[in-house]
């Protein structure tokens, strides 16, 4: 382990020595919408999201549109060019109207989850009421409009969503648990004790350092914070500092579980 000052001053340790794993701090914002979400601005296109993420000093982001992951691949492709790690995900609305973040190690798993969600998501979008749902490519061009009612609730319970996310190899976090609407505590009164969540997200309204104190309902579950950005200016307005070997989905899982020195820093 390198002394603490290396991380605190963000000085990179010497070039990797074969067989030695060096843990560093990475800045993560794991809840970013794109122009696919009806409530998000068109400016939330793949290239602009990546550019803004880099300006904000982020190392790792997750794309979580409402009940869909159709823009994750385009953001990930642009992220790869720019050196920003991108995790594909969805912000799923359960039948109790609880918002859950489902994050995956690859596009195949994210799209498999999306197929399951689509099978349990009724209704058609009305763009004039809810907003446009734009599928974009990594050149920021419009590919299609998604006709589904992405802002709606699925017919799946929170328990089913957590189970299915895990069955597909993903991580499942309760979104913005401090918010009165669509947060798990507001909708369900308390977090079901046996619900196998991998973590809890608090919104930008609460300092992460005080999350467990302000929200005793969180218990011993790990908390992180993210921007829930619907417009460019909000990307990175808050972020979570995570100690990991590299900014990947696998390392994120280990950090949430607190394995081998990985963890949430702030």
């Amino acid at each position: 382990m390198w002394p603490a000052w290396t991380a605190a001053r963000r000085i990179d340790p010497p070039a990797a020595i074969p067989g030695v794993i060096v843990l560093k701090e990475f800045r993560a914002d794991l809840h970013i919408h794109t122009c696919l979400s009806p409530c998000a601005d068109w400016e939330m296109s793949p290239r602009r999201i990546i550019r803004r993420s880099r300006e904000s000093g982020l190392d790792l982001i997750a794309v979580c549109d409402h009940n869909s992951s159709e823009n994750s691949a385009a953001v990930a492709a642009e992220g790869q060019r720019a050196g920003i790690a991108v995790i594909p995900g969805l912000e799923i609305c359960s039948r109790e109207e609880v918002h859950l973040l489902a994050l995956f190690g690859g596009m195949d798993q994210a799209l498999a989850m999306q197929a399951l969600i689509y099978a349990h998501l009724p209704g058609e979008n009305r763009p004039e009421v809810f907003g446009d749902q734009i599928v974009a490519n990594d050149a920021d061009e419009v590919v299609a409009e998604n006709p589904r009612l992405l802002i709606g609730a699925t017919g799946l319970s929170v328990e089913q969503i957590v189970r299915d996310t895990h069955a597909m190899g993903g991580l499942c976090l309760a979104a913005h648990i401090d918010r009165p609407a669509n947060g798990i505590i507001g909708q369900l009164g308390f977090i079901p004790p046996r619900l196998a969540l991998d973590g809890l997200e608090v919104s930008a309204r609460i300092p992460l350092s005080r999350a467990h104190e302000i929200l005793p309902e969180a218990g011993s579950r790990p908390c992180l914070t993210s921007s829930d950005a619907h417009r460019l200016a909000d990307i990175g307005r808050v972020h979570t500092r995570m100690r990991m070997a590299e900014p990947t989905f696998e390392e994120l899982g280990r950090a949430l579980r607190g394995e081998d020195g990985r963890g949430i820093v702030n």
């Binding site: 909708q187 369900l188 308390f190």
Partner: protein, 116 residues
């Protein structure tokens, strides 16, 4: 009025907690945000909701409710049935909207005043 009389008179289906049908109905409450119900439902009320999640049983016990009524014909989840049976908390099903049943109960003298 006890829960058994309410169920029979209005044609509610008993989905769980049949051993608790002798509970006394004092007041009424409608709500689907469980955090709100935990804070504001009157003690001893019958509670009308669309939420079938198992947390409703804990909320009902907390407010010492007479019964929970799932409106719009919604079914409780299997874990909800198991917990309601274990706690003898009646869970009833009403096929129409909460507005319809709340109106009938109010006319019959069940009011929605907060607990004293």
């Amino acid at each position: 009025m006890i829960v058994k009389e309410l169920a029979e008179y209005y044609g509610l289906q008993v989905a769980a907690g049949a051993e608790g049908l002798d509970r006394e109905v004092r007041r009424g409450y409608c709500g689907d945000l469980l955090s709100d119900v935990m804070a504001n439902a009157p003690i001893g009320c019958v509670w009308l909701t669309v939420q079938g999640h198992q947390n409703i049983v804990a909320v009902a016990l907390l407010r010492e409710m007479a019964a929970v009524v799932l409106t719009g014909g919604r079914e409780p989840e299997s874990q909800t049935v198991a917990r309601a049976n274990a706690e003898r908390m009646p869970v009833l099903i009403w096929p129409h909207s909460a507005f319809e049943l709340a109106g009938k109960l109010y006319v019959a003298g069940v009011d929605g005043r907060p607990s004293d």
